[in-house]
């Protein structure tokens, strides 16, 4: 009995495959469009998920609290004296001032991120040298005057041709010379690609920031469980200051890539539009050829349930194959081609572009999400036409 059932199922599968092969141009075009839609959705899902994962892993080590001064809705320099006002708050281990900002290179049309800080004051600052591909980190302020460490893209964009010196303009257009003392490793590109790291005095001189002011203050606390409490106390002590905690920064990267972004919405809408067209085509009626085929099958003794089974097998084969092809192509696109199709939107007009080395983690939930958006609506859209086709009276189709 079981053998008979298996043979029947295999025969139905054979018939469904033969039917798809008979209409191979139509089947192939549906398969390709379907696979392209899945490729688009899966690529977006994989890119955003890989970036969110990377952010979650590395941003677990951001400063515990970051303080920025706000004035008239904009961020502005924060007085160093604010750091001294925090001395009374119990639990703060240290406050490290930083000067950082953006330098627009008008010749190369590139934005550099300039970061000025005393690395010896930062946690693990002493180990930064081990992350460099070449050279050393600048030491304490006096010795390291004018010495910088640069990211890979900065080195490539400046095209120094063996030189280790370059100059940047101050706000008054006078030139400030720098010497490259080290380069960040390509492995850390996703964080350091556009960075020029120098000491605070050099950054102050470059940006023309008056003494006593810095860009922000990094606050480190003794007990990580007290971060929220200390942040609240800082907010009360310094009302004009925006207090960003580590958890807020991490949360940002869990929501910053999502389906609600413009590009994400376009991917979803494109997929939806494709399915609506497909469903419309399927549900709008049977072709005379299809009606004739069904009628012949019925005359030959096929039951309605058999015809329904053939039609549903056809849908499962097309949607299953499209899913495998689309998701495999998406993985290859993201991992081996660095999401090349999305880079124009992901990086826009950026001149400095890191090698992302994305490696998506394919969780069952992500696969189910893509299946829920693609295969399940397709199967649902083909149920009614399959039933309609199965209930066609044989005599009417054959013109009797």
């Amino acid at each position: 009995m079981a053998r008979h059932n298996l043979e029947k199922q295999l025969s139905i599968l054979d018939f469904a495959l033969s039917s798809l092969w008979r209409h191979r141009m139509k089947s192939l075009s549906v398969l390709l469009v379907f696979a392209a839609v899945i490729f688009l959705l899966a690529s977006f899902q994989m890119v955003t998920q890989a970036l969110s994962d990377k952010a979650k892993q590395v941003l677990a080590h951001t400063p515990e609290i970051t303080l920025q001064k706000m004035s008239a809705g904009r961020q502005e320099s924060i007085p160093l004296a604010y750091g001294e006002q925090l001395a009374g708050i119990f639990g703060i281990r240290r406050v490290v001032p930083r000067i950082w900002g953006y330098y627009f290179d008008e010749v190369r049309l590139a934005n550099y991120t300039v970061m000025g800080l005393e690395v010896n004051e930062m946690p693990e600052g002493g180990r930064l040298g081990a992350t460099l591909a070449k050279g050393v980190m600048p030491g304490p302020a006096d010795e390291a005057q004018g010495r910088v460490v640069v990211g890979q893209s900065i080195k490539k964009t400046m095209d120094l041709a063996g030189r280790t010196t370059f100059s940047l303009f101050r706000p008054d257009l006078s030139l400030k010379p720098f010497e490259i003392s080290g380069e960040f490793s390509p492995d850390t590109d996703i964080l350091t690609n556009d960075l020029i790291v120098m000491n605070v005095a050099d950054a102050r001189d470059l940006f023309g920031i008056p003494a006593g002011l810095v860009t922000d203050l990094c606050v480190y606390v003794a007990n990580p469980k007290e971060i929220e409490t200390i942040a609240k106390k800082i907010s009360e002590a310094l009302p004009s200051v925006r207090v960003l905690t580590r958890s807020q920064i991490q949360k940002t990267y869990q929501v910053v890539f999502g389906w609600r972004s413009g590009f994400g919405s376009i991917c979803l809408l494109a997929a939806l539009a494709a399915f609506v067209i497909l469903a419309w085509d399927k549900a709008s009626g049977l072709s005379p050829e299809e009606r004739r085929e069904i009628a012949i099958l019925k005359v030959l003794g096929w039951e309605t349930s058999d015809i329904l089974a053939v039609r549903s097998r056809e849908s499962v084969i097309v949607s299953g194959l499209a899913c495998i092809v689309g998701m495999t192509a998406a993985y290859i696109h993201v991992v081996y081609f660095d999401a090349a199709l999305f880079r124009p939107v992901l990086m826009g007009w950026s001149v400095l572009r890191p090698d992302l080395h994305l490696l998506p983690r394919l969780a069952a939930g992500d696969i189910l999400l893509i299946l829920a958006f693609t295969v399940i609506p397709y199967l649902a859209a083909t149920v009614i036409p399959a039933w309609r086709s199965a209930t066609v009276p044989a005599d009417s189709a054959l013109g009797g």
Binding site: Q57, T188, T192
Partner: protein, 93 residues
């Protein structure tokens, strides 16, 4: 050869390709663990708050420390015009 068998062979070929990709992914994952330690030191040592993916606009270079309203701050009635603004959502704060 019956069509079901031919289809099964084609399916096996596709799954073999996926298996090869899976194995390559595992070896890449091992290499990624090695670089993760470096990334952690850089993040702690420099106090970094953001990924250096999009460098064209300050609100997509540093979304974690920017205001959601920053794209519209340049002048009254300013519209957001950088391409990366289509990919990156403003942080909800």
């Amino acid at each position: 050869m019956r069509p079901a068998l031919r289809f099964a062979m084609f399916l096996c070929l596709l799954l073999a390709l996926d298996g090869a990709l899976l194995f390559d992914g595992l070896s890449r994952r091992m290499a990624e663990y090695a670089t993760l330690a470096r990334l952690e030191v850089v993040t702690r040592g420099l106090g970094l708050t953001d990924l250096a993916v999009a460098t064209e606009a300050r609100y997509t270079r540093h979304p974690a420390v920017s205001d959601p309203v920053v794209p519209f701050m340049d002048h009254p009635g300013a519209i957001e015009h950088f391409p990366t603004g289509a990919f990156w959502l403003p942080p909800s704060r």
